[in-house]
């Protein structure tokens, strides 16, 4: 475990206080957050490039916050990669080994394996300026991993890449991580990237870790409305806990004048009667019912009728806006293309939708 606790630092008018972050060893840790919240500052502090005012950074059981960067065993991959332009690819790759005086057979074999895995053997005598974007990414990764760092910091290295190259490097990062098992802290504001790469995700909003957990925990079960909003989650509806509700195992939420019975574990925490909540309904989990087809007993309780107000083709799925009859709300429904084609939906059409209780997640309006 790599522990960052009670970190305090300032940069100009920007300040981070009491920040704590635990990184699991051997996994791909993601620090996810909007731009301008200080993610890079945190990376620089962990690396030792920025003086911290308070706090502890523990790596391998030792406090490292007072060590200079070269003594920390932390490799850094910045967004612009910073390949040394006056050195060949081979010299770039060997830079860390030379600086750390690592010259054992194991070190050489490790570098050789990296060169093989990254498919850069044919580039060794070339200079960085002659390489393509993807080749530069591979070389920079190889250079960072060559001295076998205890932690690899990656500061949005894929942010400037076009989608196909980004996808290629993401796959490479995943397979490299699977085979080498290094510990990484990857900083990004890109939700898709975080979801794809992150074994453990920490969400940084307004200078504090708002939530941490697996990708499922963070993306499907946001702890606060702030997290839900940052993740761009749709179908967030205000409701409140029904007075007759809590029996410990289940809760009843008042939403749009109807009572929705949910298992208690589908809420962030135990709730009290009358408490205001936000109900999150996953758009990809809403079922559009076919005319004339029998509806399962479990679904009958939460059926809405209304009209299709808009359909947007999002390429990989269809985005259907549904307005329930008599309500001033709009539901977003994500349908896979093949389902959409079978349903023959059109704007203005009246349909019925079913909301499965397992598709809901209850977030208290006041987090506690």
């Amino acid at each position: 475990m790599i522990q960052i606790s009670d970190l305090a630092l300032t940069a100009g008018n920007f300040r981070i206080d009491h920040l704590s972050l635990d990184l699991r060893e051997g996994v791909f840790n993601i620090l996810l957050g909007p731009t301008g919240v200080g993610k890079t500052l945190i990376l620089e502090s962990v690396m030792g490039l920025r003086q911290i005012q308070n706090g502890q950074i523990i790596l391998g059981g030792k406090e490292i916050q007072n060590l200079p960067p070269e003594k920390r065993g932390i490799a850094y991959l910045p967004q612009d990669l910073a390949l040394f332009p006056h050195l060949t690819v081979r010299e770039n790759l060997r830079y860390g080994l030379r600086a750390q005086k690592k010259a054992t057979l194991d070190d050489e074999n490790h570098l050789d394996r990296l060169i093989e895995a990254l498919k850069i053997r044919h580039l060794l005598e070339r200079y960085p300026q002659g390489l393509s974007g993807g080749e530069k990414q591979r070389v920079a990764l190889g250079r960072a991993l060559a001295p076998s760092p205890r932690l690899l910091l990656l500061d949005e290295p894929l942010a400037a890449l076009d989608p196909s190259l980004k996808n290629e490097i993401q796959q490479l990062l995943l397979s490299l991580h699977r085979s080498l098992g290094f510990t990484a802290l990857y900083v990004t504001h890109d939700l898709e990237e975080a979801y794809l790469l992150g074994d453990a995700i920490s969400l940084l909003i307004d200078g504090r870790i708002e939530q941490k957990g697996t990708r499922q925990e963070v993306f499907i079960r946001p702890k606060t409305a702030k997290v839900a909003r940052f993740l761009g989650l749709r179908n967030l509806f205000p409701g409140h806990v029904h007075p007759s509700s809590p029996d410990g195992k289940s809760i009843v939420i008042d939403l749009w004048g109807r009572e929705i019975l949910l298992p208690a574990e589908q809420a962030v925490r135990s709730l009290t009667a009358g408490e205001k909540v936000i109900l999150y309904l996953r758009p990809e989990e809403v079922l559009v019912l076919r005319e004339g087809k029998p509806v399962k007993e479990a679904l009958r309780r939460n059926i809405l009728e209304g009209g299709v107000s808009r359909i947007l083709d999002r390429g990989t799925y269809q985005w259907v806006l549904f307005r329930p009859a008599g309500l001033e709300v709009q539901l977003e429904i994500h349908l896979p293309n093949y389902v959409f084609r079978n349903l023959l939906l059109q704007e203005g059409q009246t349909i019925r939708v079913a909301m499965r209780k397992e598709s809901f997640w209850v977030i208290p309006q006041i987090s506690g």
Partner: protein, 258 residues
């Protein structure tokens, strides 16, 4: 396109202006006596003194200007903007004023103490070096800062994360990348030091075979109305300066090719 053509015309006009100046020297230059003046002991002394003093002043400017430029480029510190502004002082201040300021300084208690300890500047060789240093140090620091600003600090950050100390990261990464900028700045400042007159004459005076640099030799030849010698000395000085500046252009060209 019209604006480009006008700009090219302006550049050509400038070239013609300076070429006419040199050409006017050549029209008054009889050709005979060039080697006689060139090989005369006072000319050779002036050339040697100029080259030696300018080299020393340039090395001093590098020794102080390089770390100063590095600090100005990489660090934020209290008073940075003031320091940065002061670097341009020699460019906005007349060299004579700079020399006069130095002369006055050596008349203060601190200056006199320095002189009384045996380190003589006024009307002495160290005075030439100091006057030239005062003229070029700011310029050198400014040129080096510009060269260093173009090198992202992330190179050093990465080098340090790979195990290099701050000094090693500078030496192995930043220094080689800034090397061409350093050599260009050195040549430019050296050429400026070779041609420096105002501050030198004020602090070191015009003593033959003692403080007679090339510009002072020109001044002395002109003062004694020896026009042919003046022209030859000007041509020698222009030759030294232009060769140095052409070397900078060659270096820039190589940088662009790479």
């Amino acid at each position: 396109m019209k604006i480009l053509r006008t700009s090219v015309l302006a550049a050509l006009l400038l070239f013609v202006f300076y070429a006419v100046l040199i050409f006017s020297l050549l029209t008054s230059f009889e050709g005979r006596g060039f080697w006689e003046v060139f090989l005369a002991s006072d000319t050779l002394f002036a050339i040697r003194l100029s080259l030696f003093a300018a080299t020393l002043a340039t090395l001093l400017a590098v020794a102080i200007g390089l770390p100063a430029a590095y600090a100005l480029s990489r660090k934020n510190f209290f008073g940075k903007k003031v320091v940065d502004t002061f670097l341009e002082l020699p460019m906005i201040m007349s060299p004579i004023a700079l020399g006069a300021a130095l002369l006055i300084f050596f008349n203060t208690r601190i200056g006199e103490t320095i002189q009384s300890r045996g380190l003589l500047f006024v009307f002495e060789f160290p005075g030439i070096v100091l006057a030239q240093f005062a003229t070029i140090a700011g310029l050198f620091t400014r040129l080096m800062k510009t060269a260093l600003d173009e090198i992202t600090p992330r190179y050093e950050a990465v080098a340090r994360s790979l195990g290099s100390s701050a000094w090693q990261a500078f030496w192995h990464i930043t220094f080689p990348l800034a090397f061409r900028g350093l050599v260009s700045a050195m040549i430019l400042c050296w050429a400026k030091a070779v041609g420096e007159f105002g501050a030198t004459v004020t602090l070191a005076g015009t003593m033959a075979f003692k403080t007679e640099t090339m510009p002072i030799a020109i001044f002395m030849a002109l003062a004694s109305a020896d026009i042919p010698k003046t022209i030859i000395l000007i041509l020698i000085l222009a030759g030294i300066g232009l060769t140095a500046l052409y070397a900078v252009r060659l270096l820039d060209k190589r940088t662009q090719v790479l």
